[in-house]
C-alpha cells in the first residue's frame, strides 16, 4: 500500500429500523415483567426472574444494538471475555461464601 489515503465507496450495511424498534419494545416489556414479578411473593424465584430478565435484556442489547449477531468471531470472543472473567471472579468467591459452615469451638 503506497498511498496513505485509500478510497472505499462500498455502502455500509445497516440494520432495519423495524428490528431496532422491536428490540426496544421487547426491552420495555422485559422491564415491566421484572418490575411486576418483583411485587409477587415468589421466594427464590424473585431473584432468579430478576437476574434472568437482566441477562435476556443484555443479550438483546448486545446482539442487535451492538451488532454482535453479525460480528466477527474475534470480536465476539472479546465481547464475551469480560463476562467470562466476571463469572470466574464471582463463581470462585461463592465457592467460599456459599460453603461456610459455622464450626463451634469444642470447649
Amino acid at each position: 500500500m503506497s498511498t496513505a489515503a485509500t478510497v472505499s465507496n462500498a455502502r455500509p450495511r445497516v440494520t432495519p429500523v423495524r428490528r431496532y424498534l422491536w428490540v426496544l419494545a421487547a426491552l420495555l416489556a422485559l422491564l415491566a415483567l421484572s418490575a411486576g414479578a418483583a411485587l409477587l411473593k415468589l421466594g427464590v424465584f424473585n431473584t432468579v426472574i430478576a437476574l434472568g430478565v437482566s441477562v435476556a435484556k443484555t443479550l438483546l442489547v448486545m446482539a442487535v444494538f451492538m451488532h454482535e449477531s453479525e460480528a466477527r468471531r474475534l470480536t465476539r470472543i472479546a465481547a464475551a471475555l469480560g463476562f467470562v472473567w466476571l463469572a470466574i471472579l464471582i463463581g470462585l468467591a461463592l465457592t467460599d461464601f456459599l460453603t461456610r459452615v459455622p464450626v463451634p469451638p469444642p470447649w
Binding site: 472505499s8 445497516v14 426491552l27 422491564l31 418490575a35 472473567w85
Partner: protein, 224 residues
C-alpha cells in the same frame, strides 16, 4: 496537501487508512475490537462492585431487603426505561450516520444526550431524597434496629455503583454532545462512521450496567 485540505479530502472521498492497515474494513475492525477490549475492562470494573454486592447480600439477605425497600422503585424503573430508550436512539443515530442522513443522526444523538441528562437529573432527585431520609453512610446515616449495619453496607455499595455509573453516563453525554456538533459539521458519513459507532457501543455498555443495577438495587424484597 495541508492538514485541513486532507481533512476535507476524507470527507469527500472516504476513509483515511493508516499505513499499518490493508484497507478501511480492517482498520474499522481493529478499532471495534479495541473498543470491545475496553468494554471488557469496564465490565470487570463494575464486576468487582457487583461481586462485593453478591457476597454482602449472601451474608445479610434480610438487611439488603430492608435497605432495598427504602430506594425509590418508581424512579428506578423510569430511569431504566429512559436508558433503554436512549440506547435505541443512539443505535438509530449511528445507523443514520452510515446512511449519510446527518440531520436525522444529529437529532437522534441529541435525543440520546437529552435522555442521558434526564437520567442524571432523576438520579439527582433520588440522591437528594435519600439525603433527607438520612441514608448517606458516613455523612448522615440514622438507621436503628438489628439490620442497621447491613443497611449501611447496602447504601455504601449503592452510592459506589450508582455514583460510578452516573459518572459514566456524564462522560457518555459529553462525548455524544461533541458528536452532535461534528455530525452537523459533516465530519462523519457512510465512509467514516467508526467514531459514532464506537460511542454507541460505549453507551450500550452504560445501559447494560444499569440493566443489572436495576433489579439488584431497586427490586429486592419488594413482595410482602
Amino acid at each position: 496537501m495541508n492538514a485541513r485540505a486532507a481533512d476535507v479530502d476524507w470527507r469527500v472521498n472516504g476513509t483515511q487508512v493508516e499505513e499499518q492497515y490493508d484497507d478501511a474494513t480492517q482498520q474499522r475492525e481493529a478499532a471495534t475490537l479495541g473498543m470491545w477490549v475496553f468494554i471488557a475492562t469496564e465490565v470487570l470494573f463494575f464486576g468487582v462492585l457487583f461481586a462485593s454486592y453478591t457476597i454482602c447480600r449472601i451474608l445479610y439477605p434480610q438487611g439488603f431487603a430492608v435497605a432495598s425497600r427504602q430506594t425509590d422503585m418508581a424512579l428506578g424503573t423510569a430511569e431504566t426505561a429512559v436508558l433503554l430508550i436512549s440506547s435505541c436512539l443512539i443505535a438509530l443515530g449511528a445507523r443514520a450516520v452510515k446512511l449519510d442522513q446527518n440531520r436525522l443522526a444529529a437529532g437522534l444523538l441529541a435525543g440520546t444526550a437529552a435522555l442521558g441528562l434526564g437520567f442524571l437529573v432523576m438520579h439527582g432527585f433520588e440522591y437528594h431524597k435519600e439525603y433527607t431520609e438520612h441514608l448517606v453512610p458516613g455523612v448522615d446515616f440514622l438507621q436503628r434496629g438489628p439490620q442497621a449495619r447491613a443497611v449501611e453496607l447496602f447504601f455504601c455499595l449503592y452510592y459506589c455503583i450508582t455514583g460510578f455509573h452516573s459518572l459514566h453516563v456524564a462522560i457518555g453525554v459529553s462525548v455524544i454532545l461533541v458528536l452532535v456538533v461534528r455530525v452537523l459539521r459533516g465530519s462523519y458519513g457512510s465512509q467514516r462512521y467508526t467514531t459514532p459507532e464506537l460511542t454507541a457501543l460505549y453507551w450500550h455498555l452504560v445501559d447494560i450496567v444499569w440493566i443489572f443495577v436495576y433489579p439488584l438495587i431497586y427490586l429486592v424484597g419488594r413482595a410482602g
